[in-house]
Each structure stands twice: as structure tokens, then as C-alpha cells.
Symmetry: C2
Subunit: 187 residues, 2 copies
DNA sequence: CTATCCATTTATCATATGATAAATAATCAG
DNA sequence: CTGATTATTTATCATATGATAAATGGATAG
């Protein structure tokens, strides 16, 4: 849990008591490459933190596999549109490299909010940061060409491009695999 | 403030004391059409609630005016990427119809979080809902044609299309004004 | 009411990306 | 190691949207 608490410290430090409370509702899971951590159609009741490995959120659009986002070590991953609404998610979380993950029970977490305002605050900040990323991503999608988006990803997250099959990256960038290959090929 | 507290009730009801505290850090402002409520380059230190009128968030991309989003009556509007980070915003908020707006001082609001966990919770939920909308919007932008996006907006928010100049809607949809006109014209 | 300015539409041409298919390359099971 | 499956690249053609310019329509100030 050391990694997790270090991550928390980047947002707001927790009392020992609060840390223990979170430890009490978390468990460490190991998952193999290509397995779904959470399937499509289930309501998101877990917040995950990645100790090791890489994951993606994906869904099907007209039968085609679309990657919604990636998460790597020392980051939280959750399907917020389900976690925050209680509605089933049309998205799944898949593991792309054998992974070690901390699974935090969301219902219990939300209950902890009542007794530990510091925990509510911490997760508010974590998700606010993710909210900001999402807002900024819209600008990237909307007003840059596919090539610019690819190059931006190369800059910001080169390891993702190295670790993840290109087909997943293509749909994340909003283009076909063929277009991505064309963009990479030119020059 | 009646409208505002009714809006709050949709998320979580506040105690009278908390309501008074919020009232104490809010003021009612009246703004004319086409005025900027907040200019580009300033750090967002206010959360706005629209009693009457319509507003948009916009910015300049390569010198071109881009609409990031709209907000109408009984909704909150804020530049979250600045509000949550404390960094200056590259975006502005402009009023598109003479408006009556409740301006909530964000720094004072964040201080109220310490003494009123219920207020922190309320705003957490408000912004979580906005986070979910943003996440869902990415799917719309990424995987629908301009025509589909226009028709979706017609369905979901026909009043916005009626009340707002088309040029603003075009950039919101991620297309040029000329393309939007073409889409509207066909048939 | 008129003149000016701004918003919208229409037209033409250029281009990035999609769709499809086929060729290579890489990965994996046995 | 071999064959089979999956991922990636390359090629061709079609099309949605962009860029630009010009025409039309609507709003507003005086």
C-alpha cells in the first residue's frame, strides 16, 4: 500500500487512522494480461490503483472496439460515468500487461466519507484532477489533426505507445488503425 | 437565491446554516449580452449559477474563436481547468443574452468546505456530474460525424440552437461555420 | 428608412481520413 | 520449430470536411 499512500500524498496527506480505514476496504489483486478487470454492463463499484502494469478502458461502438483511455503505474482508474451515477457502464477495464492492482471498494469508500471528511476531500481532489484532464482532452480531440494528436501522445506518454498495441492507440486517438499506420509511416 | 437552492436540492439538501453561509459569499450580478463575465488570462475564482440568460465558455485557437461549452438557466458554469488548478485560464466566459447570475466566491467557498462538510459534499457532487458529462462528450466528439453531432444537439438542447448564433455552435461541434451551414442546408 | 456591419448560405476546389483489401510482420500455442 | 493467428503496413478509391471567396440575408445605429 506504500505506493498508494505516496500517490495520495500528492493530493492531500491522510491521518494514520484514515490510512488504516482505506487499507481496510482495499485488497491487492493480481491480473493477467488481456483479462478484463471489469466487464461491460456492470456497475462500477471499485476504484483501482495500479501498482504495476497497464490498463485501458474500452467499449464497443457499432461492434468496433474503442479505447477510451489508458492508465499506467501509480494512477487511479475507474469508469467515472458509472461510479458517479450508479448506472451500469457500457465500458470495460482490460489489463494489457500482467498487473498488480489495489482494488478499493467504492461503496465502502463512500461510507468512509461520512466519518472521514479528509478521505472525501482526498478523493474529491483526485477526481477533480481527472476532470481537468478530461476537459483538456476535449480540446486536443476537437482541434488537432490525427497527426498532431499522435505526436502529442508521443511527447506526453511515449511509454504507452511502446507498451500498447497500436490498434488500441488508434481508437484512443479517434482514428482507424490504418490511418495511424499511415501517419507513422510518412517520412 | 431560491433558484440556486432548488438546484442544490437536486444533489444534496443543505442545512439552513449552510445555506446562509453560501448566501454570505454570493452576490447577484446582472450582465449585458456580449459582455465577458470573465476574461481570458485570469484565474477562475468564482463559481457562477445562471438564474436567467445564457453563457458560453470560449477561447482562441490559432486566432480563431472556439466555443468550449454553453450553460443556460439553472446551471452552474465555471472554468474548472483553472478553478481546480489555480492556474490562469486561457478561456473566457461570455454572456449571450442579458443575464442574471449568482456569483459564488470560490476561495471563500473552499474555506467553507472546512467548516461545512455538507457544502464540500454538495459541490463535489455538482462537479462530479459535470465530470460525467465531459467524459460522455468525448465519445460524442470522437465517434460521431459532424452531422450526427448537430442532430444530437438539436435533440438534447434545441433551445441552445435557437438562442445562440450558429457560428458559436459550429465551433462547439468542432466544425467550421460553413460546414454547419452545409449540414443544415442539405435536404 | 437607409447604410453599414455582421451572420449565414452557397459554390468551388483541396485534402485528411475512412473503407476495403491484400501483403507483411510479429506473436503464440502446441 | 512450425503453423496458425493476430497485428501492422501498404495500396486504392470514396467522401466528409476544410479553406477560401462571394452572395444573400438580417440586425442595428443613426
Amino acid at each position: 500500500m506504500k505506493q498508494l499512500f505516496e500517490y495520495f500524498n500528492r493530493f492531500s496527506p491522510l491521518s494514520d487512522e484514515a490510512k488504516e480505514a482505506i487499507e481496510g476496504i482495499s485488497k491487492l489483486v493480481h491480473i493477467q494480461k488481456n483479462k478484463d478487470l471489469q466487464p461491460i454492463g456492470h456497475t462500477c463499484k471499485t476504484v483501482y490503483f495500479i501498482n504495476k502494469g497497464i490498463a485501458r478502458i474500452y467499449y464497443y461502438k457499432d461492434g468496433i472496439d474503442i479505447t477510451d483511455g489508458f492508465a499506467t503505474e501509480n494512477n487511479v482508474i475507474a469508469r467515472v460515468e458509472s461510479l458517479f451515477t450508479g448506472k451500469p457502464s457500457r465500458k470495460a477495464i482490460q489489463i494489457l500487461e500482467d498487473a498488480e492492482i489495489v482494488a478499493i471498494d467504492a461503496n465502502k469508500l463512500f461510507k468512509l466519507y461520512d466519518s472521514y471528511p479528509e478521505i472525501e476531500r482526498l478523493f474529491r481532489k483526485i477526481f477533480e484532477a481527472s476532470h481537468v484532464e478530461t476537459v483538456n482532452r476535449i480540446e486536443g480531440i476537437q482541434f488537432h489533426t490525427a497527426e498532431e494528436r499522435y505526436k502529442a501522445l508521443l511527447e506526453e506518454a511515449p511509454t504507452i505507445i511502446q507498451r500498447v498495441p497500436l490498434k488500441y492507440i488508434a481508437s484512443y486517438l479517434g482514428i482507424t488503425q490504418v490511418s495511424l499506420s499511415r501517419i507513422r509511416g510518412q517520412r
